[in-house]
Symmetry: C2
Subunit: 505 residues, 2 copies
């Protein structure tokens, strides 16, 4: 028990100890009946004589706050307790943090999401299709337990020390082999392990992009990346997508006009749309990036969640000159709780990233990386992936069926070949918030377009994440969304035509 | 095995598969004798027909790169192997990352440390006194193994999902009780768990300090914090310390002159000096901060490593209006490998910090926090702390004895009552690099003054970290340092008097 002592105060030590303990008893931090440390022990812990502590205990006893049972110790008792002020500190005018933080620390909380939860019926079932994350019900808990138990046999002092900012070496090797097998390794690339791909985006953006510089990405864009761009005080240009990815004409225009520092794309099973970039587009975008000297951050977090067709090459597969930084993670294919992702980047850059990463948090939890490594070596990750791909494929199919049956005429949607979400395109100018709120009121939560715009402007579309809901719920959700959309469209048509909004995706 | 396939290319699928596998065999990513997946299995994995895969395998066999043993499978063989280009990619002119990164991404590597390691004798023992970290030899490996095994029984799908950006709730409660027991809780404070206190500094600085704004800290300063300040593009003012902490007169002057956003201090067992701030100074600094409306970040990472005297109150103990953000960690008292630290901050600010933290890496490893929590509940942390305090106290004493015996007259040093390091003060104008290099050449590594200055200017002092070396080595190191210092001083006196340098600490 660490009792702070003010040796510069006039108050005697025993009195300070007495008063500190009395406070803890009054505030019930020390509970009724709880035993205080023996005087000798407390004395040694806080560096005073035993008699000083005894004097303090005597004082507490006189006050009726403890009682001493000879041979058993000193116990808290509340008999002497007058009603006491509930809090330790008589607050002066508190520091005005709101004012201090105004103009700083952009608030990144999404008001619109809170609003949706509030709109959902307080009782009755809610179908939450907000998050493209692994279904926790599918988490391989038993396999992780078994594997982690085996890993604990290998735990040594090294694993409890600071790790390398590059990550756990055996897992780096595993990933290196995997990248090589997929033809994604360049001889002068290096692999860096991070706390999930979100930290990867953060490290890369902080290293490459100074405040005010320009980042290009898709519209709609992945919100987690937008938040990183905002925290880095970057300017963001969201360019229109077609069914594959960024439109090359728009990209070329922007690269010509702006001094772009980074292109951030998710070429395979894009979040939110599920769109996938074919090899021709990949080559075209790489060629533009090369010509303008702009690196590409390729977010591959959904890459392995393919439900049909053949594996599509990554941008990294075509990266002849080391322009592409590839980002991967175990969070989507396996589970996110061990926080392991990776960056494959040209060695020169990787070196800088490892320094930046060291400065941010001095490295990852070695034990977590050991568990992931062992799961990989035992084939558990491949087995798990096969299992969940079948489940998510069936959920996607159920959702697509439901949408086909229930969504009204003018509404369209993407048909992703993988990933965890699709995008519903609404008639131009409709916006998403009206329909999304109506659906929330009926217990179906989907992510409104505003989430996917850097300024939070609504878009004419919304995201449905299908990975965590079972097929019947997805069909039910489609019916409710269909109803909400019909109402919203009817309602709009009965009013004056809305002003044009941001371009439709 | 994920083989990327370009459906837009003219090359037939079987040919693409053939060529990809041939590459893997040539590059020995597939080893001699390794078995390829059965055609049926690979076909299903990559979404092609079985006959496509068989055709690819036939092609490889014709080329002499695999052989098929009927009933046993297809195996890699290197008989058909002509000498092949070692690398997958015919590199075009590689992207010039050095140029791209110039003016960005401050290089935070310490050239001076690399130089020291290079100066140390390649053979023969090196006494490394560079790092104030727990001695890995003292890590409670068996206790962690036992505890983690017990924790794995509780592992569930929740623990494998994303955690709250606030951290694992039961551990937050444990820390809340601990802060209350030490009288450091304010009723409107909240506790936030982070990946070690380094991430805590990073989150706080990114949230509070915009590029170009001013942070005040000590000279010499903690290097890990300086690096965060640099990454945030803040202006840093290092103010002189006396034997306790920042000098109040200098602080007051700076608060008047500059628009200071944050004061960063380590009041208890400061790194590098080991200095500790008494209650009178604490109140004075708080009063100055209050008057100028500047929050204080109190780094308490060494607080519990006290070797003598009574527990000293933290700044947080006097924080009436919620100006103090207190930072703690298990990395110094226990071990750093599970990456758990905490922030105690006023609720309004803590809310913002949790959002910023979410955007940085979506939260910590739940399993790691569960293990720390259980270690705490079982009293392992308290027991470990008692054990290591005795060891580190003995090491400090040995070092102090050695310095007393061996350092020459004009040299002085601090006598820390806790922590893991002390500071050797050199005569004004001497600088540390000369002596530190001489000592390195004789196998003793200590951290030169330049490490503790934001611009990397040398200071007239160096740090000795005593936590990881045994007593006899510390005495030996003191003797070698004494010799190096005498030589350096003699050498300087025989030259023209050096120009004045930065003020001595």
């Amino acid at each position: 028990m660490l009792i702070p002592i003010d040796r510069q105060a006039g108050t005697p030590l025993h009195r300070q100890i007495h008063e500190h303990l009395a406070q803890l008893i009054r505030r019930e931090i020390l509970a009724d009946g709880e035993r205080l440390p023996a005087a000798r022990q407390l004395a040694s812990e806080i560096g005073v004589t035993r008699s000083t502590v005894s004097q303090a205990y005597d004082g507490l006893q006189a006050e009726g706050l403890v009682r001493t049972a000879v041979g058993a110790g000193t116990f808290v008792t509340r008999t002497g307790l007058a009603p006491a002020p509930p809090h330790r500190i008589a607050r002066r005018a508190a520091f005005d943090w709101e004012r201090f933080l105004a103009d700083h620390a952009p608030t990144t909380e999404d008001a619109s999401l809170g609003e949706l939860f509030a709109a959902a019926p307080p009782e009755g079932p809610v179908i939450n299709l907000l998050r493209p994350i692994p279904d926790p019900a599918l988490a391989p808990v038993a396999e992780v337990r078994r594997t982690a138990r085996a890993v604990l046999q290998l735990l040594d002092a090294d694993a409890l020390d600071y790790g390398s900012p590059w990550g756990y070496e055996p897992l780096r090797e595993v990933l290196g082999r995997q990248l090589a097998t997929e033809g994604m390794d360049r001889t002068d690339d290096a692999t860096l392990l991070v706390n999930g791909s979100q930290q990867g985006i953060d490290i890369i953006v902080r290293t490459l992009v100074a405040p005010g510089e320009v980042i290009v990405t898709e519209r709609p864009a992945y919100k987690g990346a937008l938040r990183v761009f905002q925290a880095a005080r970057a300017q963001v240009r969201c360019l229109p997508m077609d069914e594959e990815s960024l439109e090359t004409a728009a990209l070329e225009r922007t690269l010509r006009q702006d001094n772009v520092r980074l292109i951030y794309v998710t070429p395979t099973f894009h979040n939110p749309t599920g769109a996938t970039m074919g090899p021709t587009r990949a080559r075209a975008i790489l060629e533009l990036a090369r010509r303008h000297g702009v690196p590409i951050l390729e977010d591959g977090c959904f890459r392995n969640l393919r439900y049909e067709g053949t594996p599509v090459p990554a941008l990294k597969n075509f990266d002849d000159e080391g322009l592409v930084i590839h980002l991967g993670t175990f969070s989507k294919t396996l589970f996110p709780g061990l926080r392991v992702g990776w960056i494959a980047a040209p060695q020169q850059l990787a070196q800088r990233l490892s320094l930046a990463r060291h400065d941010m948090d001095l490295g990852s939890v070695t034990l977590a990386q050991m568990v992931i490594c062992r799961l990989h070596e035992q084939g558990e990750i491949a087995r798990h992936l096969e299992r969940v791909r079948a489940v998510y494929r069936a959920r996607r199919d159920a959702l697509l069926d439901g949408l086909e049956r229930h969504l009204p005429e003018p509404v369209q949607w993407t048909r992703p070949a993988g990933g965890m979400s699709l995008w519903v395109r609404l008639p131009e100018g409709l916006g998403s918030l009206g329909a999304v709120r109506r659906a929330a009121g009926r217990g179906v939560l989907v992510a409104p377009g505003s989430i996917f715009d850097p300024a939070g402007h609504d878009l004419d579309g919304f995201r449905i994440a299908f990975s965590t809901a079972e097929a019947p719920d997805l069909v039910r959700a489609a019916a409710i969304l269909g109803k909400a959309l019909r109402e919203e469209i009817d309602n709009r048509q009965s009013h004056v035509a809305a002003a044009p909004r941001l371009p439709v995706v």
